[in-house]
Protein backbone atom coordinates (compact mmCIF):
# COMPACT_ATOMS: atom_id res chain seq x y z
CA UNK A 1 0.00 0.00 0.00
CA UNK A 2 1.17 3.48 -0.78
CA UNK A 3 -0.07 6.44 1.21
CA UNK A 4 1.47 9.80 0.41
CA UNK A 5 0.59 12.58 2.80
CA UNK A 6 1.96 16.02 3.50
CA UNK A 7 0.68 16.95 6.96
CA UNK A 8 2.39 14.89 9.60
CA UNK A 9 -0.16 15.34 12.39
CA UNK A 10 -3.05 13.17 11.26
CA UNK A 11 -1.12 10.82 9.00
CA UNK A 12 -1.13 7.82 11.35
CA UNK A 13 -4.88 7.99 11.88
CA UNK A 14 -5.46 8.26 8.16
CA UNK A 15 -3.20 5.32 7.44
CA UNK A 16 -5.21 3.19 9.79
CA UNK A 17 -8.48 4.41 8.35
CA UNK A 18 -7.24 3.72 4.86
CA UNK A 19 -5.97 0.30 5.84
CA UNK A 20 -9.42 -0.55 7.18
CA UNK A 21 -11.00 0.60 3.95
CA UNK A 22 -8.51 -1.40 1.99
CA UNK A 23 -9.47 -4.54 3.83
CA UNK A 24 -13.18 -3.82 3.92
CA UNK A 25 -13.45 -3.25 0.21
CA UNK A 26 -10.83 -5.80 -0.78
CA UNK A 27 -8.72 -3.20 -2.49
CA UNK A 28 -5.13 -3.73 -3.41
CA UNK A 29 -4.07 -0.11 -3.37
CA UNK A 30 -5.16 3.30 -2.14
CA UNK A 31 -3.28 6.47 -2.88
CA UNK A 32 -4.37 9.73 -1.33
CA UNK A 33 -2.96 13.23 -1.70
CA UNK A 34 -4.42 15.97 0.45
CA UNK A 35 -3.39 19.33 -0.96
CA UNK A 36 -4.22 18.79 -4.60
CA UNK A 37 -6.92 16.27 -3.52
CA UNK A 38 -5.45 13.27 -5.25
CA UNK A 39 -7.06 9.89 -4.55
CA UNK A 40 -6.04 6.63 -6.08
CA UNK A 41 -7.61 3.23 -5.35
CA UNK A 42 -6.64 -0.12 -6.73
CA UNK A 43 -8.35 -3.45 -6.49
CA UNK A 44 -6.66 -6.48 -8.06
CA UNK A 45 -9.27 -8.65 -9.73
CA UNK A 46 -6.76 -11.33 -10.67
CA UNK A 47 -5.24 -13.18 -7.78
CA UNK A 48 -2.01 -14.37 -9.32
CA UNK A 49 0.19 -13.01 -6.62
CA UNK A 50 -2.07 -14.58 -4.09
CA UNK A 51 -1.80 -17.96 -5.70
CA UNK A 52 1.93 -17.80 -5.79
CA UNK A 53 1.86 -17.12 -2.08
CA UNK A 54 -0.37 -20.12 -1.67
CA UNK A 55 1.98 -22.34 -3.63
CA UNK A 56 4.81 -21.15 -1.52
CA UNK A 57 2.94 -21.78 1.69
CA UNK A 58 2.26 -25.33 0.63
CA UNK A 59 5.43 -26.27 -1.08
CA UNK A 60 8.12 -24.19 0.52
CA UNK A 61 7.60 -24.85 4.20
CA UNK A 62 10.68 -23.15 5.60
CA UNK A 63 13.09 -21.95 2.97
CA UNK A 64 11.18 -19.03 1.50
CA UNK A 65 13.25 -17.27 -1.13
CA UNK A 66 14.47 -13.86 0.04
CA UNK A 67 13.97 -10.85 -2.20
CA UNK A 68 16.67 -10.65 -4.82
CA UNK A 69 17.75 -7.13 -5.71
CA UNK A 70 19.81 -7.29 -8.85
CA UNK A 71 22.53 -4.92 -7.69
CA UNK A 72 23.46 -2.51 -5.00
CA UNK A 73 20.19 -0.82 -4.40
CA UNK A 74 19.46 2.51 -2.81
CA UNK A 75 16.12 2.31 -1.06
CA UNK A 76 16.05 5.36 1.14
CA UNK A 77 18.09 8.51 0.54
CA UNK A 78 21.38 7.48 2.06
CA UNK A 79 20.95 3.76 2.74
CA UNK A 80 22.64 1.25 0.42
CA UNK A 81 22.63 -2.53 0.35
CA UNK A 82 25.70 -4.47 -0.70
CA UNK A 83 24.43 -7.62 -2.40
CA UNK A 84 26.15 -10.84 -3.35
CA UNK A 85 27.15 -11.06 -7.01
CA UNK A 86 27.64 -14.84 -6.64
CA UNK A 87 26.01 -17.93 -5.27
CA UNK A 88 28.34 -19.19 -2.61
CA UNK A 89 29.42 -19.15 1.01
CA UNK A 90 29.75 -15.88 2.85
CA UNK A 91 32.87 -15.24 4.97
CA UNK A 92 33.37 -12.10 7.01
CA UNK A 93 37.09 -12.71 7.37
CA UNK A 94 39.92 -14.00 5.20
CA UNK A 95 40.48 -16.95 7.51
CA UNK A 96 39.09 -18.65 10.61
CA UNK A 97 41.59 -16.91 12.89
CA UNK A 98 41.49 -13.53 11.25
CA UNK A 99 39.46 -10.53 12.32
CA UNK A 100 36.41 -9.70 10.17
CA UNK A 101 37.02 -7.25 7.34
CA UNK A 102 34.32 -4.98 8.76
CA UNK A 103 31.90 -4.81 11.67
CA UNK A 104 28.79 -2.80 12.48
CA UNK A 105 29.99 0.76 12.87
CA UNK A 106 33.01 0.36 10.58
CA UNK A 107 33.50 3.32 8.27
CA UNK A 108 34.18 1.98 4.77
CA UNK A 109 35.45 3.52 1.55
CA UNK A 110 34.30 2.66 -1.95
CA UNK A 111 36.44 -0.26 -3.15
CA UNK A 112 37.25 -1.48 0.35
CA UNK A 113 36.96 -5.28 0.85
CA UNK A 114 33.93 -6.16 2.98
CA UNK A 115 33.84 -9.93 2.83
CA UNK A 116 34.52 -13.04 0.79
CA UNK A 117 32.00 -15.15 -1.11
CA UNK A 118 33.42 -18.57 -1.88
CA UNK A 119 32.14 -20.22 -5.02
CA UNK A 120 33.66 -23.42 -6.44
CA UNK A 121 36.71 -23.14 -4.16
CA UNK A 122 37.39 -19.60 -5.40
CA UNK A 123 37.52 -16.83 -2.84
CA UNK A 124 35.80 -13.79 -4.32
CA UNK A 125 36.47 -10.55 -2.48
CA UNK A 126 33.43 -8.32 -2.33
CA UNK A 127 34.13 -4.60 -2.31
CA UNK A 128 32.00 -1.74 -1.09
CA UNK A 129 30.38 0.26 -3.85
CA UNK A 130 29.96 3.34 -1.65
CA UNK A 131 31.56 5.38 1.10
CA UNK A 132 29.70 5.01 4.38
CA UNK A 133 29.18 3.25 7.69
CA UNK A 134 28.11 -0.41 8.09
CA UNK A 135 24.82 -0.31 9.98
CA UNK A 136 23.82 -3.97 9.70
CA UNK A 137 25.33 -7.29 8.62
CA UNK A 138 22.57 -9.26 6.93
CA UNK A 139 24.23 -12.57 6.12
CA UNK A 140 25.67 -15.08 8.58
CA UNK A 141 29.34 -15.98 8.54
CA UNK A 142 29.92 -19.35 6.90
CA UNK A 143 26.40 -19.57 5.54
CA UNK A 144 25.20 -19.83 1.95
CA UNK A 145 24.11 -16.77 0.04
CA UNK A 146 22.19 -16.52 -3.21
CA UNK A 147 22.84 -14.25 -6.15
CA UNK A 148 21.55 -10.80 -5.23
CA UNK A 149 21.18 -11.55 -1.53
CA UNK A 150 21.79 -8.45 0.63
CA UNK A 151 24.97 -8.78 2.72
CA UNK A 152 25.47 -5.38 4.32
CA UNK A 153 23.33 -2.35 4.98
CA UNK A 154 25.45 0.77 4.60
CA UNK A 155 24.60 4.33 5.55
CA UNK A 156 26.16 6.48 2.87
CA UNK A 157 28.15 9.56 3.76
Amino acid sequence: MKAKKKSASSSMDDVEALAKLLKKHELSEIELERSGVRIRLRRDLGGAGHMVEGMQAMTLPASAAPPAPTATEVTDGNISYITSPFVGTFYRASGPDTAPFVDVGTRVKKGQILCIVEAMKLMNEIESEVDGVIVQILAQNGHAVEYGEPLYKVKQE
Binding site: M51, T59, V87, L122, V145
Partner: protein, 449 residues
Amino acid sequence: MFKKVLIANRGEIALRVIRACRELGIASVAVHSVADTNALHTRFADESVCIGPASAAQSYLHIPAIISAAEITGADAIHPGYGFLSENADFAETCEKCGIAFIGPTAKLMRLMGGKISARAAMTAAGIPILPGTGLLETDQQAISAAHEIGFPIIIKASAGGGGRGMKIVRDADKLIGQLETARAEALAGFGSAAVYLERYLEAPRHIEVQIVADTHGNCAAVGERECSIQRRHQKLLEEAPSIALSDIQRDELRTLCERAIAQVGYTNVGTLEFLLDEKGRFYFMEMNTRIQVEHTVTEMVTGLDLVREQINLAAGHRLSMTTDGGRFRPRGYAIECRINAEDPETFAPSPGRITALNLPGGFGVRVDTHVYEGYVVPPHYDSLLAKLVVHAEDRPAAIRRMARALGEFVIEGIKTNLEFHRQLVRHPDFVSGKLDTHFMERFQFVKP
Protein backbone atom coordinates in the same frame (compact mmCIF):
# COMPACT_ATOMS: atom_id res chain seq x y z
CA MET B 1 19.86 -43.37 -4.40
CA PHE B 2 20.42 -39.62 -4.46
CA LYS B 3 19.31 -37.60 -1.44
CA LYS B 4 18.92 -34.25 -3.15
CA VAL B 5 18.74 -33.39 -6.85
CA LEU B 6 19.38 -29.91 -8.21
CA ILE B 7 17.50 -29.11 -11.41
CA ALA B 8 19.62 -26.92 -13.70
CA ASN B 9 16.65 -25.78 -15.73
CA ARG B 10 13.36 -23.90 -15.65
CA GLY B 11 9.81 -24.13 -17.05
CA GLU B 12 7.80 -27.28 -17.49
CA ILE B 13 10.82 -29.62 -17.58
CA ALA B 14 12.00 -28.33 -14.21
CA LEU B 15 8.55 -29.15 -12.81
CA ARG B 16 8.67 -32.54 -14.54
CA VAL B 17 11.91 -33.39 -12.74
CA ILE B 18 10.68 -32.03 -9.40
CA ARG B 19 7.60 -34.27 -9.75
CA ALA B 20 9.75 -37.33 -10.43
CA CYS B 21 11.91 -36.48 -7.40
CA ARG B 22 8.83 -36.11 -5.20
CA GLU B 23 7.56 -39.50 -6.24
CA LEU B 24 10.98 -41.03 -5.57
CA GLY B 25 11.23 -39.37 -2.16
CA ILE B 26 14.23 -37.27 -3.23
CA ALA B 27 14.56 -33.63 -2.14
CA SER B 28 14.71 -31.10 -4.97
CA VAL B 29 16.60 -27.84 -5.43
CA ALA B 30 15.46 -25.31 -8.00
CA VAL B 31 17.88 -22.77 -9.38
CA HIS B 32 16.43 -19.66 -10.91
CA SER B 33 17.28 -16.34 -12.42
CA VAL B 34 15.98 -13.06 -11.06
CA ALA B 35 13.30 -13.16 -13.79
CA ASP B 36 12.02 -16.50 -12.47
CA THR B 37 11.60 -15.56 -8.81
CA ASN B 38 7.84 -16.17 -9.12
CA ALA B 39 8.14 -19.17 -11.41
CA LEU B 40 6.49 -22.40 -10.30
CA HIS B 41 9.71 -24.40 -10.33
CA THR B 42 11.17 -21.88 -7.88
CA ARG B 43 8.13 -22.14 -5.63
CA PHE B 44 7.52 -25.80 -6.04
CA ALA B 45 10.93 -27.31 -5.29
CA ASP B 46 11.91 -28.10 -1.71
CA GLU B 47 14.63 -25.44 -1.91
CA SER B 48 15.48 -22.71 -4.37
CA VAL B 49 18.57 -20.67 -5.10
CA CYS B 50 18.76 -17.49 -7.13
CA ILE B 51 21.81 -17.95 -9.37
CA GLY B 52 21.94 -14.81 -11.50
CA PRO B 53 20.21 -12.12 -13.51
CA ALA B 54 17.57 -12.77 -16.18
CA SER B 55 20.08 -13.41 -18.95
CA ALA B 56 20.43 -17.16 -19.47
CA ALA B 57 24.16 -16.79 -20.07
CA GLN B 58 24.55 -15.40 -16.57
CA SER B 59 22.14 -17.84 -14.89
CA TYR B 60 20.92 -21.12 -16.43
CA LEU B 61 24.03 -21.40 -18.61
CA HIS B 62 26.46 -20.19 -15.95
CA ILE B 63 28.22 -23.35 -14.79
CA PRO B 64 30.03 -21.93 -11.70
CA ALA B 65 26.78 -20.50 -10.30
CA ILE B 66 24.98 -23.84 -10.75
CA ILE B 67 27.80 -25.90 -9.24
CA SER B 68 28.02 -23.43 -6.39
CA ALA B 69 24.27 -23.72 -5.79
CA ALA B 70 24.63 -27.51 -5.66
CA GLU B 71 27.47 -27.18 -3.18
CA ILE B 72 25.75 -24.78 -0.79
CA THR B 73 22.55 -26.85 -0.78
CA GLY B 74 24.35 -30.18 -0.55
CA ALA B 75 22.78 -31.59 -3.71
CA ASP B 76 24.40 -34.87 -4.72
CA ALA B 77 23.08 -34.91 -8.30
CA ILE B 78 22.16 -32.46 -11.05
CA HIS B 79 19.44 -32.98 -13.63
CA PRO B 80 20.08 -30.79 -16.66
CA GLY B 81 16.62 -31.07 -18.29
CA TYR B 82 16.72 -30.28 -22.02
CA GLY B 83 18.28 -27.24 -23.69
CA PHE B 84 20.61 -25.02 -21.63
CA LEU B 85 23.50 -27.20 -20.35
CA SER B 86 21.90 -30.57 -21.04
CA GLU B 87 24.26 -31.45 -23.91
CA ASN B 88 27.29 -29.60 -22.62
CA ALA B 89 29.96 -32.24 -22.01
CA ASP B 90 32.13 -29.72 -20.13
CA PHE B 91 29.32 -29.23 -17.65
CA ALA B 92 28.94 -33.00 -17.19
CA GLU B 93 32.70 -33.18 -16.67
CA THR B 94 32.67 -30.36 -14.12
CA CYS B 95 29.91 -32.16 -12.21
CA GLU B 96 31.97 -35.36 -12.24
CA LYS B 97 35.05 -33.47 -10.98
CA CYS B 98 33.07 -31.83 -8.18
CA GLY B 99 31.70 -35.19 -7.05
CA ILE B 100 28.16 -34.38 -8.14
CA ALA B 101 26.35 -36.99 -10.21
CA PHE B 102 25.28 -35.72 -13.63
CA ILE B 103 21.93 -37.27 -14.55
CA GLY B 104 22.79 -38.27 -18.09
CA PRO B 105 25.52 -40.18 -19.90
CA THR B 106 29.21 -39.64 -19.10
CA ALA B 107 30.98 -36.60 -20.57
CA LYS B 108 32.91 -38.96 -22.81
CA LEU B 109 29.75 -40.50 -24.28
CA MET B 110 28.19 -37.06 -24.65
CA ARG B 111 31.20 -35.96 -26.69
CA LEU B 112 31.08 -39.10 -28.82
CA MET B 113 27.34 -39.22 -29.47
CA GLY B 114 26.54 -35.50 -29.13
CA GLY B 115 28.87 -34.54 -32.02
CA LYS B 116 27.21 -35.07 -35.39
CA ILE B 117 30.30 -36.35 -37.18
CA SER B 118 31.58 -38.64 -34.44
CA ALA B 119 28.07 -39.99 -33.80
CA ARG B 120 27.60 -40.82 -37.48
CA ALA B 121 30.94 -42.58 -37.58
CA ALA B 122 30.09 -44.55 -34.43
CA MET B 123 26.66 -45.51 -35.74
CA THR B 124 28.01 -46.50 -39.15
CA ALA B 125 30.52 -48.71 -37.37
CA ALA B 126 27.62 -50.23 -35.43
CA GLY B 127 25.81 -51.06 -38.66
CA ILE B 128 23.27 -48.23 -38.70
CA PRO B 129 22.79 -46.66 -42.15
CA ILE B 130 23.33 -42.95 -42.67
CA LEU B 131 22.17 -40.82 -45.58
CA PRO B 132 24.57 -41.47 -48.52
CA GLY B 133 26.63 -38.41 -49.40
CA THR B 134 30.06 -37.04 -50.19
CA GLY B 135 32.66 -34.85 -48.58
CA LEU B 136 33.54 -31.56 -50.28
CA LEU B 137 33.82 -32.09 -54.03
CA GLU B 138 37.09 -31.34 -55.79
CA THR B 139 36.27 -32.22 -59.40
CA ASP B 140 33.23 -32.65 -61.64
CA GLN B 141 34.27 -36.25 -62.32
CA GLN B 142 34.20 -36.91 -58.59
CA ALA B 143 30.68 -35.49 -58.46
CA ILE B 144 29.47 -37.58 -61.39
CA SER B 145 30.70 -40.89 -60.01
CA ALA B 146 29.50 -40.03 -56.49
CA ALA B 147 26.08 -39.05 -57.82
CA HIS B 148 25.71 -42.36 -59.61
CA GLU B 149 26.72 -44.22 -56.51
CA ILE B 150 24.27 -42.30 -54.34
CA GLY B 151 21.47 -42.47 -56.90
CA PHE B 152 19.14 -39.71 -58.05
CA PRO B 153 17.53 -37.49 -56.92
CA ILE B 154 20.47 -35.90 -55.17
CA ILE B 155 20.84 -32.57 -53.44
CA ILE B 156 23.81 -30.22 -53.83
CA LYS B 157 24.49 -28.35 -50.62
CA ALA B 158 26.77 -25.38 -50.09
CA SER B 159 29.28 -26.14 -47.37
CA ALA B 160 28.90 -22.64 -45.95
CA GLY B 161 25.09 -22.60 -46.44
CA GLY B 162 22.42 -23.74 -44.06
CA GLY B 163 18.76 -23.44 -43.26
CA GLY B 164 17.75 -24.49 -46.76
CA ARG B 165 19.82 -21.83 -48.52
CA GLY B 166 22.27 -22.68 -51.33
CA MET B 167 20.64 -26.00 -52.17
CA LYS B 168 19.94 -27.52 -55.57
CA ILE B 169 17.92 -30.66 -56.15
CA VAL B 170 19.05 -32.73 -59.19
CA ARG B 171 16.67 -35.38 -60.44
CA ASP B 172 18.40 -36.18 -63.70
CA ALA B 173 22.04 -37.14 -64.40
CA ASP B 174 22.15 -34.88 -67.50
CA LYS B 175 21.53 -31.81 -65.36
CA LEU B 176 24.21 -32.57 -62.77
CA ILE B 177 27.15 -30.62 -64.24
CA GLY B 178 25.04 -27.56 -65.08
CA GLN B 179 23.43 -27.46 -61.65
CA LEU B 180 26.80 -28.00 -60.00
CA GLU B 181 28.16 -24.91 -61.78
CA THR B 182 25.14 -22.83 -60.80
CA ALA B 183 25.36 -24.04 -57.20
CA ARG B 184 29.06 -23.18 -56.99
CA ALA B 185 28.48 -19.72 -58.42
CA GLU B 186 25.58 -19.05 -56.05
CA ALA B 187 27.51 -20.39 -53.09
CA LEU B 188 30.46 -18.17 -53.88
CA ALA B 189 28.22 -15.14 -54.28
CA GLY B 190 26.10 -15.93 -51.27
CA PHE B 191 28.54 -17.31 -48.72
CA GLY B 192 31.97 -16.42 -50.07
CA SER B 193 32.90 -20.05 -50.68
CA ALA B 194 32.22 -22.23 -53.74
CA ALA B 195 32.64 -25.48 -51.74
CA VAL B 196 29.70 -27.88 -52.21
CA TYR B 197 28.88 -31.52 -51.45
CA LEU B 198 26.24 -34.07 -52.47
CA GLU B 199 23.67 -36.02 -50.48
CA ARG B 200 20.80 -38.30 -51.44
CA TYR B 201 17.65 -36.19 -51.65
CA LEU B 202 14.57 -37.53 -49.87
CA GLU B 203 11.37 -36.22 -51.44
CA ALA B 204 9.13 -36.77 -48.41
CA PRO B 205 11.07 -38.09 -45.45
CA ARG B 206 9.57 -38.65 -42.05
CA HIS B 207 11.39 -37.72 -38.86
CA ILE B 208 11.30 -40.88 -36.75
CA GLU B 209 13.21 -41.09 -33.49
CA VAL B 210 13.79 -43.95 -31.10
CA GLN B 211 13.82 -43.62 -27.31
CA ILE B 212 16.74 -45.37 -25.68
CA VAL B 213 17.17 -46.32 -22.04
CA ALA B 214 20.38 -47.98 -20.88
CA ASP B 215 21.79 -48.85 -17.50
CA THR B 216 25.40 -49.03 -16.33
CA HIS B 217 25.27 -52.83 -16.14
CA GLY B 218 25.21 -53.46 -19.87
CA ASN B 219 21.45 -53.57 -20.38
CA CYS B 220 19.69 -51.33 -22.84
CA ALA B 221 16.27 -51.08 -24.41
CA ALA B 222 14.78 -49.15 -27.31
CA VAL B 223 11.33 -48.53 -25.90
CA GLY B 224 9.59 -47.26 -28.99
CA GLU B 225 9.64 -44.72 -31.75
CA ARG B 226 8.14 -41.27 -32.07
CA GLU B 227 6.93 -39.59 -35.23
CA CYS B 228 8.06 -35.93 -35.22
CA SER B 229 7.68 -34.96 -38.88
CA ILE B 230 5.66 -31.84 -38.16
CA GLN B 231 8.39 -29.25 -37.79
CA ARG B 232 8.94 -25.66 -38.73
CA ARG B 233 12.61 -24.77 -39.24
CA HIS B 234 13.70 -27.90 -37.35
CA GLN B 235 11.43 -26.90 -34.46
CA LYS B 236 9.05 -29.75 -33.62
CA LEU B 237 5.43 -28.71 -33.16
CA LEU B 238 3.52 -31.96 -32.69
CA GLU B 239 4.78 -35.46 -31.92
CA GLU B 240 3.15 -38.87 -31.93
CA ALA B 241 3.85 -42.37 -30.68
CA PRO B 242 3.90 -44.86 -32.21
CA SER B 243 4.43 -43.93 -35.88
CA ILE B 244 1.76 -45.25 -38.22
CA ALA B 245 4.44 -45.40 -40.92
CA LEU B 246 5.95 -48.52 -39.32
CA SER B 247 4.68 -52.06 -39.46
CA ASP B 248 5.33 -54.19 -36.41
CA ILE B 249 8.06 -55.95 -38.37
CA GLN B 250 9.80 -52.65 -39.19
CA ARG B 251 9.33 -51.57 -35.58
CA ASP B 252 11.08 -54.68 -34.33
CA GLU B 253 13.88 -54.35 -36.90
CA LEU B 254 14.49 -50.73 -35.94
CA ARG B 255 14.45 -51.59 -32.27
CA THR B 256 16.94 -54.42 -32.71
CA LEU B 257 19.22 -52.22 -34.79
CA CYS B 258 19.17 -49.44 -32.18
CA GLU B 259 19.69 -51.73 -29.23
CA ARG B 260 22.67 -53.34 -30.92
CA ALA B 261 24.25 -49.98 -31.75
CA ILE B 262 23.67 -48.55 -28.28
CA ALA B 263 25.16 -51.62 -26.68
CA GLN B 264 28.16 -51.36 -28.98
CA VAL B 265 29.02 -47.79 -27.99
CA GLY B 266 28.25 -48.57 -24.34
CA TYR B 267 25.79 -45.71 -24.02
CA THR B 268 24.12 -45.16 -20.64
CA ASN B 269 21.08 -43.25 -19.30
CA VAL B 270 18.37 -42.00 -21.67
CA GLY B 271 18.87 -40.77 -25.21
CA THR B 272 17.22 -40.53 -28.58
CA LEU B 273 18.40 -41.70 -31.99
CA GLU B 274 16.96 -39.52 -34.73
CA PHE B 275 16.31 -40.97 -38.18
CA LEU B 276 14.89 -39.98 -41.50
CA LEU B 277 12.55 -42.57 -43.02
CA ASP B 278 12.21 -42.41 -46.78
CA GLU B 279 9.23 -43.36 -48.91
CA LYS B 280 10.66 -46.83 -49.46
CA GLY B 281 10.84 -47.57 -45.75
CA ARG B 282 14.62 -47.07 -45.42
CA PHE B 283 16.03 -45.48 -42.26
CA TYR B 284 18.95 -43.06 -42.18
CA PHE B 285 20.53 -42.05 -38.89
CA MET B 286 20.81 -38.28 -38.45
CA GLU B 287 21.97 -37.58 -34.91
CA MET B 288 21.62 -38.51 -31.28
CA ASN B 289 20.25 -36.44 -28.42
CA THR B 290 22.02 -37.43 -25.24
CA ARG B 291 19.33 -36.10 -22.90
CA ILE B 292 15.62 -36.30 -22.11
CA GLN B 293 13.55 -34.74 -24.89
CA VAL B 294 10.54 -32.44 -24.80
CA GLU B 295 8.41 -35.12 -26.44
CA HIS B 296 9.39 -37.97 -24.10
CA THR B 297 5.79 -37.71 -22.82
CA VAL B 298 4.23 -39.54 -25.78
CA THR B 299 6.51 -42.52 -25.18
CA GLU B 300 5.52 -42.49 -21.51
CA MET B 301 1.84 -42.58 -22.44
CA VAL B 302 2.13 -45.65 -24.69
CA THR B 303 4.67 -47.57 -22.59
CA GLY B 304 3.57 -46.68 -19.07
CA LEU B 305 7.26 -46.07 -18.34
CA ASP B 306 8.12 -42.96 -16.29
CA LEU B 307 11.19 -41.90 -18.29
CA VAL B 308 12.39 -39.19 -15.92
CA ARG B 309 12.09 -41.51 -12.94
CA GLU B 310 13.94 -44.13 -14.97
CA GLN B 311 16.60 -41.57 -15.87
CA ILE B 312 17.24 -40.71 -12.22
CA ASN B 313 17.29 -44.38 -11.23
CA LEU B 314 19.75 -45.20 -14.04
CA ALA B 315 22.05 -42.34 -13.04
CA ALA B 316 22.00 -43.73 -9.51
CA GLY B 317 23.25 -47.06 -10.85
CA HIS B 318 19.96 -48.96 -10.84
CA ARG B 319 19.27 -51.63 -13.38
CA LEU B 320 16.73 -51.07 -16.15
CA SER B 321 13.20 -51.54 -14.82
CA MET B 322 12.07 -53.26 -18.01
CA THR B 323 13.24 -55.00 -21.17
CA THR B 324 11.79 -55.07 -24.65
CA ASP B 325 11.17 -58.71 -24.01
CA GLY B 326 12.82 -60.22 -27.04
CA GLY B 327 10.76 -58.14 -29.44
CA ARG B 328 7.38 -58.72 -27.86
CA PHE B 329 7.32 -55.17 -26.53
CA ARG B 330 4.38 -53.25 -28.05
CA PRO B 331 3.06 -49.74 -27.54
CA ARG B 332 -0.38 -49.57 -25.92
CA GLY B 333 -2.71 -47.25 -27.74
CA TYR B 334 -1.67 -43.99 -29.30
CA ALA B 335 -0.40 -40.67 -27.95
CA ILE B 336 -0.07 -37.18 -29.41
CA GLU B 337 1.65 -34.13 -27.96
CA CYS B 338 1.04 -30.53 -29.03
CA ARG B 339 3.58 -27.91 -28.00
CA ILE B 340 1.67 -24.86 -26.90
CA ASN B 341 3.89 -21.83 -27.39
CA ALA B 342 3.64 -18.14 -26.53
CA GLU B 343 3.90 -16.96 -30.12
CA ASP B 344 2.00 -15.28 -32.89
CA PRO B 345 0.48 -18.13 -34.93
CA GLU B 346 1.14 -16.30 -38.17
CA THR B 347 4.55 -14.68 -37.74
CA PHE B 348 5.80 -17.11 -35.07
CA ALA B 349 7.13 -14.08 -33.17
CA PRO B 350 7.38 -14.78 -29.42
CA SER B 351 4.64 -13.25 -27.31
CA PRO B 352 5.76 -12.73 -23.72
CA GLY B 353 3.47 -11.09 -21.15
CA ARG B 354 0.89 -11.74 -18.48
CA ILE B 355 -1.56 -14.63 -18.73
CA THR B 356 -4.84 -13.01 -17.76
CA ALA B 357 -7.06 -16.08 -18.05
CA LEU B 358 -6.29 -19.77 -18.11
CA ASN B 359 -8.35 -22.91 -18.48
CA LEU B 360 -6.49 -26.19 -18.73
CA PRO B 361 -8.09 -29.12 -20.50
CA GLY B 362 -8.80 -32.23 -18.44
CA GLY B 363 -10.64 -35.53 -18.31
CA PHE B 364 -9.86 -39.02 -19.52
CA GLY B 365 -6.69 -39.50 -21.54
CA VAL B 366 -5.50 -35.90 -21.15
CA ARG B 367 -2.16 -34.91 -19.64
CA VAL B 368 -0.93 -31.35 -19.23
CA ASP B 369 2.67 -30.47 -18.39
CA THR B 370 2.90 -26.77 -17.76
CA HIS B 371 4.58 -24.22 -15.52
CA VAL B 372 2.10 -21.43 -16.19
CA TYR B 373 -0.76 -20.23 -14.03
CA GLU B 374 -3.34 -17.49 -14.22
CA GLY B 375 -1.47 -14.24 -13.59
CA TYR B 376 1.92 -15.69 -14.59
CA VAL B 377 4.10 -13.34 -16.61
CA VAL B 378 5.87 -15.15 -19.45
CA PRO B 379 9.37 -13.62 -19.40
CA PRO B 380 10.91 -12.55 -22.71
CA HIS B 381 14.30 -14.10 -21.91
CA TYR B 382 13.68 -17.78 -22.55
CA ASP B 383 11.98 -20.14 -24.99
CA SER B 384 8.29 -19.77 -25.72
CA LEU B 385 7.01 -23.20 -24.61
CA LEU B 386 4.01 -22.69 -22.30
CA ALA B 387 2.58 -26.18 -22.04
CA LYS B 388 2.68 -29.65 -23.47
CA LEU B 389 -0.77 -30.99 -24.11
CA VAL B 390 -0.64 -34.76 -24.40
CA VAL B 391 -3.50 -37.16 -25.11
CA HIS B 392 -3.72 -40.92 -25.07
CA ALA B 393 -6.40 -43.10 -26.64
CA GLU B 394 -6.85 -46.56 -28.07
CA ASP B 395 -5.89 -45.65 -31.64
CA ARG B 396 -4.79 -42.70 -33.76
CA PRO B 397 -8.28 -41.53 -34.87
CA ALA B 398 -9.49 -41.56 -31.25
CA ALA B 399 -6.33 -39.73 -30.14
CA ILE B 400 -6.86 -37.06 -32.79
CA ARG B 401 -10.48 -36.58 -31.72
CA ARG B 402 -9.38 -36.34 -28.10
CA MET B 403 -6.68 -33.80 -28.97
CA ALA B 404 -9.19 -31.69 -30.92
CA ARG B 405 -11.54 -31.81 -27.95
CA ALA B 406 -8.79 -30.89 -25.47
CA LEU B 407 -7.49 -28.04 -27.65
CA GLY B 408 -11.07 -26.73 -27.77
CA GLU B 409 -11.23 -26.33 -24.02
CA PHE B 410 -7.71 -24.92 -23.60
CA VAL B 411 -7.92 -21.17 -22.95
CA ILE B 412 -4.92 -18.86 -22.57
CA GLU B 413 -5.61 -15.15 -22.66
CA GLY B 414 -3.43 -12.05 -22.39
CA ILE B 415 -0.71 -13.29 -24.74
CA LYS B 416 -0.72 -14.76 -28.22
CA THR B 417 -0.43 -18.54 -28.47
CA ASN B 418 -0.39 -21.18 -31.18
CA LEU B 419 -3.51 -22.92 -29.79
CA GLU B 420 -5.54 -22.02 -32.87
CA PHE B 421 -2.70 -23.22 -35.09
CA HIS B 422 -2.89 -26.63 -33.40
CA ARG B 423 -6.69 -26.69 -33.69
CA GLN B 424 -6.36 -26.26 -37.44
CA LEU B 425 -3.43 -28.67 -37.66
CA VAL B 426 -5.30 -31.61 -36.11
CA ARG B 427 -8.19 -31.07 -38.55
CA HIS B 428 -5.93 -30.97 -41.62
CA PRO B 429 -6.81 -33.82 -44.03
CA ASP B 430 -3.16 -34.85 -44.51
CA PHE B 431 -2.59 -34.91 -40.77
CA VAL B 432 -5.77 -36.89 -40.14
CA SER B 433 -4.90 -39.43 -42.82
CA GLY B 434 -1.30 -39.62 -41.58
CA LYS B 435 0.33 -38.29 -44.74
CA LEU B 436 3.22 -36.71 -42.91
CA ASP B 437 6.72 -35.72 -43.89
CA THR B 438 9.17 -33.04 -42.84
CA HIS B 439 7.86 -30.73 -45.61
CA PHE B 440 4.35 -30.82 -44.13
CA MET B 441 4.59 -27.34 -42.66
CA GLU B 442 5.57 -25.87 -46.05
CA ARG B 443 2.17 -27.03 -47.35
CA PHE B 444 0.16 -26.11 -44.26
CA GLN B 445 -1.70 -22.82 -44.45
CA PHE B 446 -2.79 -21.23 -41.18
CA VAL B 447 -6.12 -19.45 -41.53
CA LYS B 448 -6.61 -16.45 -39.31
CA PRO B 449 -9.86 -17.09 -37.42
